[in-house]
Symmetry: C3
Subunit: 295 residues, 3 copies
Amino acid sequence: MGGGIRGARASGSSGGGRLPPVPARVITFLTDYGLDDDFAGVCHGVIATICPEARVIDITHGVPRHDVRAGALILRSAIRYTPVGVHLAIVDPDVGARRRAVALRTGDDRLFVGPDNGLLSLAATDAGGVIEVVDIAGSPWRLEPVSATFHGRDIFAPVAARLAAGEPLGSAGDPSDPDGLVTLELPLPRHEDGSLIAHAIYVDRFGNVRLNVGHDQLIGGEAALGVGLGDVVELEAGAHGRHRAHYARTFADMATGELLLYEDADGTLAVAVSRGSAAARLGLAAGDELWIRPA
Amino acid sequence: MGGGIRGARASGSSGGGRLPPVPARVITFLTDYGLDDDFAGVCHGVIATICPEARVIDITHGVPRHDVRAGALILRSAIRYTPVGVHLAIVDPDVGARRRAVALRTGDDRLFVGPDNGLLSLAATDAGGVIEVVDIAGSPWRLEPVSATFHGRDIFAPVAARLAAGEPLGSAGDPSDPDGLVTLELPLPRHEDGSLIAHAIYVDRFGNVRLNVGHDQLIGGEAALGVGLGDVVELEAGAHGRHRAHYARTFADMATGELLLYEDADGTLAVAVSRGSAAARLGLAAGDELWIRPA
Amino acid sequence: MGGGIRGARASGSSGGGRLPPVPARVITFLTDYGLDDDFAGVCHGVIATICPEARVIDITHGVPRHDVRAGALILRSAIRYTPVGVHLAIVDPDVGARRRAVALRTGDDRLFVGPDNGLLSLAATDAGGVIEVVDIAGSPWRLEPVSATFHGRDIFAPVAARLAAGEPLGSAGDPSDPDGLVTLELPLPRHEDGSLIAHAIYVDRFGNVRLNVGHDQLIGGEAALGVGLGDVVELEAGAHGRHRAHYARTFADMATGELLLYEDADGTLAVAVSRGSAAARLGLAAGDELWIRPA
């Protein structure tokens, strides 16, 4: 899946001669806060106060409210294309309740900060697996008094900023057991009556629907449908009837309004309508089943 | 109210030895421009052209259109969590009319730039009060020709950028009298028939409704309702009937769909529905009255 | 049209003495990706990985989906107010199809990167005209494997980042002929039956409608309507009837709800409703005709 750009730093941008000071790490930032309010902005303010040198990259603040799975999927694919750094992620429906707050280091030396509700789990696995975990609920770096509802401001952002400034992970809180972390269960596709039954796992703002299957499950391999590029398939979702779609390379290969199945930019199968919304056409929302069969 | 993070700079991020050049100040930026158009982006461009070293922190550009009071409330609470810097704020329904454009310095050495319509007044009071004011309508730093409708680009952003670059406030325009500044009148809660009558002063994107009362007015003190954590209260707003709510610590203490009254992250009382919208449930918009009484 | 701020750098912000290292160029960034998903954030990640020193200014990611003309108009007016730099712009309905991907240099030394579908053409003409073009579809700087649907991540952002890092345009791909670039045709206003027939070319989030006429076509010159400031005009759009509007300087000169025609911040004529939406009042969308005549 996907590519990422490890090691792709431009040769022309490296400095020469004298050693520069150790730079602050990049902080990537993903939440479901939206941008209508000042939640994300206030976290930026906290980071800039604690570690003025840190560069913050907003991955998105548009994760659907409380949708931990959508956040986890976006985080996993996005950080393949960001510098190795501190990855701050907050989708936290249980803020103020018993869920733990954690900071962790992965095998490829990324640091993650967020609630322990599965949000970090897919990305952490993808980034070499969890090597070290600290519980930061009682972090000495948190802002006092800690509010019951805005841990982004009071716990997560301050911890991310201190880590970006180079302070050691072990000082962020209490050591904890990686095996105790919450992990996400994603639905698995299955075969039934000659169909491949996939699940919609994410709908983007264009109405493109990402599925939980790789294109090898469609076109090749043991349990594949044996569908090839250009073939027509039948799609069926709930009570919305049957639809014909082409297995195509990209939107632009289709006429406006036509339905297509394609390999998306992260290497997973997705459904789209050329210059339209597949989610609307098929009545698909995240979590729904989609039956795919040769036409 | 609130905490803020004055003096919280991480020890690990300070440089050593040689003195660094005086850094440009941080500019915080709040507007009702939205992000669909290029208004905010163009102001960023102006700032980057005039003071490339300035770091700009977007607090939010999602203030409801022309809602000076919402902007003033957000600005006041947000800057407690940003570095001391130049605070650029634009919610300006009367752009091009007689309202003044100002830049001012407060007691704790923050600089504010924006229209003189009350937008800056709550934050300036919170930041030590206004010490010095200049009228910048005819600022030598403005971009010519000044448009009639986009003073953000032509007056406010250039002035903020020059101040961030270290130029003196006195050079930004004509000295003016702090006592002449427009201030905001916020509604005051009152008691009637055993009820505390509060006002909705801000609704966030989750439908959480901030009220104009501190939690001491609910649970303690002379004129308090005598409600304690865990108690049930009755809420009534306009014609939307009576609703039972728990006085709770956070959303997560409640079952999905339950109504709660709680102390929000800025220390004021707010109403929420766990994983839902209190504004929708109660039919509450900013400015509306909410009657609170023991159940 | 417009002013821009060439040469407006604040005197107080220039360094002294020792020569600084050649700074990375600013990258401005405009797309129709929206901010709900991580498309724009991932491009930021790619840029930060390749050229950590680059400062990225988001002009907007709210261009209406696939609306190349709206993107081109916004880009042209916005870059007059940004530093000279690398201008990355992506509104790309034909991604993955035959349209070319290009990087180009203009007469005033700006670099543009994006699809060759007219998006860059208005800005490039405004910036001194195209001097040099390279086709970057097969750029050695692209990320492999190049996806069929996300060239922002795999081609455009990497090329912009390398250019910002100082690598030469000629190394970005294959030299190409500037005369072969796609250009945009904008509709021209015309006169008929004593009316000036304009076109709505852009509707902003406030419902203000920008027209394809300069104010000299209204108030002066040979073929002008002879309308002066304060005069009343009649506006007619499609089947939405006739409306009276004042030719005014700014919203604030009108009572709430009144319709006005005015010169907008870029020097072109626009229609607005004071504290309301002209697009809604007149039933106007981009591309629609608007008849203007003296009342």
